[in-house]
């Protein structure tokens, strides 16, 4: 028997905000019957982008129902920008934790929320763009990479617990291990400063960073309806804010790490790390 917290049990037995929301203008649907769980999240967003009402319909186990219930309670009253910062860990924490094998239920909650926000903004979610790694559950490499980074996953088993990838036939386990290895290398390269590091004052850094943004980063982001603003530079940590379409993009972290950070390291200082101001 699963070791569910009292709060999970309570939200499962008496779920909040179940049902259809006819006035919903932001709807996110994730999961499928085949996968064994699915969530339809319906939000009503007012002119100020405040979520004034939220309802859900869920097919799934106790923790899937409890995660959905918790999610609707958490986002009500928030602006879309605030809601976009809700992570799967936040959902699990709200419930006092989930059994590790059930973390994918909280991930489903976050995915539905992202889908609903994207639906409101009329954006196509980029997750589908990745390469499908796990055929059984249709999980892409982007989703796996994101889970590895966000939840600091270290084993294939943990990836399965969080994303379901690898939980079926098991043929993708080698590929999942590769993704873990690649991400571990990236983390290492972030920590070990290269010998060639120059010493720079913060003002010098800011000037060069703005330069790179204006010359290369902004033109690229603007093509997708997005933008970026430099908020602060603290040592080697560059704090930025993604704007426009990028602000709500589910892939924004990948954009920051794989694109913005890479550019800054190449052209400014190879020890810089880029973080979102909302993180």
């Amino acid at each position: 028997m699963w070791d569910y917290t009292d709060k999970v049990k309570e939200h499962f037995l008496n779920p909040r905000n179940v049902g259809q929301l006819d006035q919903a203008n932001a709807v996110g649907e994730v999961g499928s019957l085949a996968c064994g769980d699915a969530l339809k999240l319906m939000l009503m967003v007012d002119a100020n982008e405040v979520i004034v009402d939220a309802k859900f319909q869920t097919f799934g186990c106790a923790s899937a129902i409890a995660s959905s219930s918790a999610l609707t309670e958490m986002v009500k009253g928030k602006t879309l920008t605030e809601a976009a910062t809700v992570t799967n860990e936040d959902i699990a924490n709200y419930l006092g934790g989930l059994p590790k094998e059930k973390m994918h239920c909280s991930v489903m909650g976050r995915e539905a929320l992202e889908a609903a926000i994207a639906n409101y903004r009329g954006i196509l979610l980029p997750m589908a763009e990745g390469e499908v790694v796990c055929e059984c559950f249709g999980v892409t490499d982007l989703e796996v990479r994101r889970a590895i980074e966000e939840s600091h996953l270290r084993t294939v088993e943990e990836i399965t617990n969080f994303t379901k990838a690898g939980g079926g036939c098991g043929k993708c386990h080698d590929r999942l291990q590769q993704l873990l290895d690649t991400s571990a290398k990236q983390v290492k390269s972030k920590i070990i400063p290269l010998k060639a590091s120059r010493r720079m004052t913060t003002i010098q850094k800011i000037k060069l960073i703005e330069d790179v943004f204006e010359r290369e980063v902004r033109p690229t982001l603007r093509k997708d309806g997005g933008d970026i603003e430099l908020i602060d530079v603290d040592g080697n940590e560059v704090i930025v804010s993604l704007r426009g379409a990028c602000g709500s993009c589910a892939k924004s972290r990948t954009t920051l790490k794989e694109y913005v950070e890479k550019k800054l390291r190449e052209q400014v200082l190879d020890t810089l790390t880029v973080e979102d101001d909302k993180a």
Binding site: K9, F12, L33, A38, G60, C61, A64, F137, K164, G167
Partner: protein
């Protein structure tokens, strides 16, 4: 919580009070080792002889054909690996897609235990969970070492024609093993009349305690032990005998022999009442498994568009114990291999619930379940996006 209504007897059973009573002395005054030369130990040995005779009687076997083990899984592993060792040059095994993991996982991983790669033919089942004997006959190869087919399926209760299948294997000179863990005590078995070489049983499925199993090995079948050690079980299974549990199993088999009729009349009737009641009260629900060829105590019902774990936890809050073939209950992410082998659609596989009864269940309990479950299913369906989008033409 209300008092417990236990409808999960294919998982494990209540130890019969009569069984608890007879095993008690072996934890206190009768603690001797049956192998000892003194009368104090010897009297325990005598009790084991009596227990062995009772078990043999239930199975239609000779007492010498029984080996005590620690569980059904040990019996399965012992039988399969012994058969493989008896045929060192053969590299093919026939089994089914719906075996218990104790057989399935061993057959699929023979390489790890023998150092040789084995080809495994897993016979398919139809939508009612039944085997196709033509497919079975065609599956034999020159180098088939063993057939291992369960007598009755743990999830659906479907009974396989193992007596007939064993005859077919014998005609081809192939050893035949059956995992009869779910069948023993529920349906009549007479091994003398069959060609079965190995049969596994587990005590805790028939009101004996956990931790005791039996492997039947037909006289004349070559055998090599799994646990090598002392001379216990005539050198076929080392390790000091689990005396209290062996005595308990003897009593449980004696009880089972006397209750076989009750099992197939009163228990079967309760099962049918439960099944009919639920199917009548709940739309979009159907039985999994053949209506006739199945154990008298088991019903497996799918409730479309809802998930099994959620159903079980709601049942749990009103004191009803059952189990599910849904992915979420097992910790795996896919629905049960039995439901998938039967081709149960995903709309229903995740919502399959198994109720397995015993002689201890009552009519009141069954009525209570029939009354409690419909609103639970309705509540979960109200919550399910698929229920609202289901094809309405059904």
């Amino acid at each position: 919580m209300n008092s417990t209504i236990y409808l999960d007897n294919n998982a494990t059973t209540r130890v019969a009070p009569e069984v608890v009573e007879v095993m008690q002395p072996y934890f206190s005054e009768l603690y001797g080792n049956p192998s000892s030369m003194h009368t104090f130990g010897g009297q325990v040995g005598e009790a084991l002889v009596a227990a062995r005779a009772k078990i043999a009687h239930l199975l239609g076997a000779d007492p010498d054909e029984l080996i005590f083990t620690s569980c059904g899984t040990e019996s399965d592993s012992t039988a399969i690996l012994s058969a493989i060792r008896a045929n060192p040059d053969k590299r093919h095994i026939i089994t089914t897609r719906v075996e218990h993991p104790a057989v399935k996982n061993l057959a699929e991983n023979m390489h790890a235990f023998t150092g040789h790669k084995y080809r495994v033919t897993q016979l398919s089942v139809d939508s009612q969970g039944m085997l196709d004997l033509d497919e079975y006959e065609k599956a034999f190869c020159e180098d088939t070492a063993l057939v291992s087919v369960m007598w009755a399926n743990n999830e659906t209760g479907v009974i396989f024609p193992v007596e007939e299948m064993a005859m077919i294997a014998k005609a081809r000179g192939v050893l035949f093993h059956t995992d009869a863990v779910q069948a023993v005590g529920k349906i009549p078995i007479d091994l003398k009349k069959t060609a079965i070489n190995f049969l596994s049983l587990s005590g805790h499925k028939l009101h004996a305690p956990k931790g005791i199993g039996v492997l039947y090995v037909r006289k004349g079948t070559s055998f090599s032990p799994f646990l090598v050690g002392g001379h216990q079980e005539r050198g076929r299974r080392g390790g000091t005998e689990n005396t209290a549990s062996i005595v308990a199993l003897g009593k449980a088999c004696e009880l089972a022999a006397t209750r076989m009729t009750v099992e197939n009349t009163r228990v079967k009737c309760l099962r049918d009442t439960l099944e009919k009641g639920l199917l009548a009260a709940i739309p979009n629900a159907f039985r999994n498994g053949h209506p006739e060829h199945r154990l008298p105590n088991t019903t497996n019902i799918s409730f479309e568009y809802v998930e099994g774990e959620a159903i079980l936890l709601h049942l749990n809050t009103v004191g009803i114990c059952a189990s599910s073939g849904s992915a979420c209950t097992s910790g795996s992410l896919e629905p049960s291999h039995v439901m998938r082998a039967m081709g149960v659609p995903f709309t229903a596989a995740h919502g399959s619930i198994r109720f397995s009864l015993s002689v201890y269940n009552t009519e009141e309990e069954v009525d209570f379940v029939v009354q409690q479950l419909p609103p639970i299913i309705a509540k979960l369906r109200q919550m399910s996006p698929f229920w609202h989008n289901r094809p309405k033409s059904l």
